[in-house]
């Protein structure tokens, strides 16, 4: 028993004297609880919707006002033709379109019934259902208020329609996210581990005392992983098409090119991580905690960003994965071309160049 106590005491000493283990034991759980607490929410908040009002009468105006007054929705724009609905969704900001039929008020008074189409972007099936339900409940609420006053039962019939993912398959949501994570994992983590391994084994010393230029070492390290990541991406896309029957509506070429761009940005991040890690363990920890976790939580892959508090939303802007997922979903599920995603692509390109520049500058040509 005494031996056991002595051993346990020693273990406590080790834990409390190692800054890294302290951070993992206490720092990380707090960070994670905060992140998860704020990020995971099924509520929606100020979701952008568009209005297609064929009637433009007093009733529709009232309903629209009610919707805009609620904190769940924010009216992004009014469109005047059905033909424009597709374009609005492709742009990506608007998550739902409310389509009021012609002669809405007249129909209510004459036939005691009118319909509103609730068209939601179901590339994120969870929030699509939620949006639909919330609109519904606002409508119900309005009906109740009106019917109380008038003593006749008007019925507003909502017609929900889910576009891009009518069966609300969750795999449509997961595949782009998983692809992002795997590419990030293979590229960033493996690159950073490979470079730090040379440091740990001591072979880095010999490479430095040689005519090899720093950029030759960096590119040499990164090259195999570009190929491997591309193969991974191809395998994932094939699997999702043939096993999960996921559509790829847009151009495969565009998909490939943007994927390569993202891979390069992840590789640059990997090199950056290797410049701040002395050991493979550190590199792995930073890759997992510093990359994987924010990507899963803050990229909009599972939890919608618009529902998160503002500080988290701002942070999500600097995560390359967020932009890549928007592009991926756009190309695969909505079939958009470059004209709709040029902004996101440009941002991703800018980030990539920034990371490459930073890691080249930080790459040490000496041991200190």
């Amino acid at each position: 028993m005494k031996r056991f106590k002595g051993f346990v005491t020693k273990e406590f000493y080790h834990i409390f004297r190692d800054r890294r283990s302290l951070f993992i034991l206490f720092g990380m759980p707090i960070v994670q609880v905060l992140l998860f607490g704020f990020a995971i929410t099924n509520e929606i908040n100020k979701v952008d919707i568009a209005i297609l009002d064929h009637s433009k009468d007093a009733t529709t105006k009232e309903i629209i006002n009610k919707i805009s007054a609620s904190r769940y929705f924010s009216i992004n724009q009014h469109i005047d033709r059905e033909a424009n609905i597709e374009a609005v969704f492709k742009k990506g900001k608007v998550r739902a379109v409310l389509n009021f039929e012609k002669d809405f008020n007249k129909n209510l008074i004459k036939e005691h019934q009118a319909t509103i189409q609730i068209i939601t972007d179901a590339t994120d099936p969870n929030s699509a259902s939620t949006i639909s339900n919330y609109v519904n409940s606002i409508l119900q609420n309005y009906q109740q208020e009106q019917n109380k006053a008038i003593a006749i039962n008007y019925v507003i019939t909502p017609q929900p329609r889910m576009v891009y993912n009518p069966e609300l398959k969750s795999v449509y949501m997961f595949v782009p996210g998983v692809m992002t994570i795997i590419l990030m994992l293979v590229s960033a983590m493996m690159t950073s581990i490979s470079i730090t391994r040379e440091k740990e084994l001591g072979t880095m010393e010999i490479l430095l005392v040689s005519p090899l230029k720093p950029f030759q070492v960096i590119i040499g390290k990164v090259f195999p992983y570009i190929f491997l990541s591309i193969i991974n991406a191809v395998v994932i896309v094939l699997l999702s098409i043939f096993i999960f029957k996921m559509p790829v509506q847009g151009s495969l070429l565009l998909l490939g090119l943007v994927s390569v761009l993202f891979i390069i940005s992840a590789l640059a991040l990997g090199i950056l991580i290797s410049t701040i890690s002395a050991s493979q363990q550190t590199a792995m920890m930073i890759s997992l905690m510093g990359l994987m976790l924010p990507v899963i939580l803050l990229s909009g892959f599972i939890f919608p960003i618009s529902s998160m508090p503002l500080p988290l939303q701002i942070i999500s802007h600097v995560i390359p994965a967020k932009w890549f997922i928007i592009i991926l979903k756009g190309i695969m599920l909505k079939g958009v071309g470059l004209q709709f995603i040029w902004k996101e692509t440009l941002i991703l390109l800018g980030m990539t160049i920034f990371f490459i520049g930073l890691s080249v500058r930080r790459y040490k040509i000496r041991l200190e």
Partner: protein, 242 residues
Amino acid sequence: MKKTNVIQAVGLTKMFGDFMAVNAITFDVKKGEIFGFLGANGAGKTTAMKMLIGISTPTSGSAQVAGFDVFTQAENIKKNIGYMSQKFALYDDLTVKENITFFGGIYGLSKVRIKEKTKELIEDLGLKEVSDQLIGSLPLGWKQKISFSVALLHEPKIVFLDEPTGGVDPITRRQFWELIYRASHQGTTIFVTTHYMDEAEYCDRVSIMVNGKIEALDTPKKLKKQFNVDSMNDVFLKLARG
């Protein structure tokens, strides 16, 4: 007065698959002796030593250490010996006192005894000012002297030292060996491996392993005469080169 054997090995063998790492070695070590166990890297020294300290089961042959059988009583052996190796001796992130307390506890010493021994050790090695410092902050030579003393905390019959003086300056090395002499004088048997051939000369008897077999076993003086050379270094070269 006949000295008793604290280690007795007969035909001790260890095989890894087809490879015979230790080939039927036979030898004994007397109480209070300083026994040098030499050999090139890969000659089988470390494997042999692992069998004697009870952490590796021999393939065949027999051996008794401190009166216990290496096959059936390995746990008892571990309780009755001390061990120190160059690669690891003490915990860098614990203080001198904490290390002594920990190892004392592991060896089953009572709290009172640990306190006594701690005081003894600190006075003996002159560590009063650094007793609450982390081991990692002390120079290599001090670490080695402390680990040797820690290996003796529970007053074992035999102490096994695996290349204990690597890299240390010549003065500290000799101070370390003076500790060894004193322990031997007090009746502790010392089983030591080393690459410093001059340290081989400090031993009462030396054995040299080549390719798994013991090719020489005698006092340094007699070995030098046998091979007609002046130093243990030359004995080794003659044997290993063949």
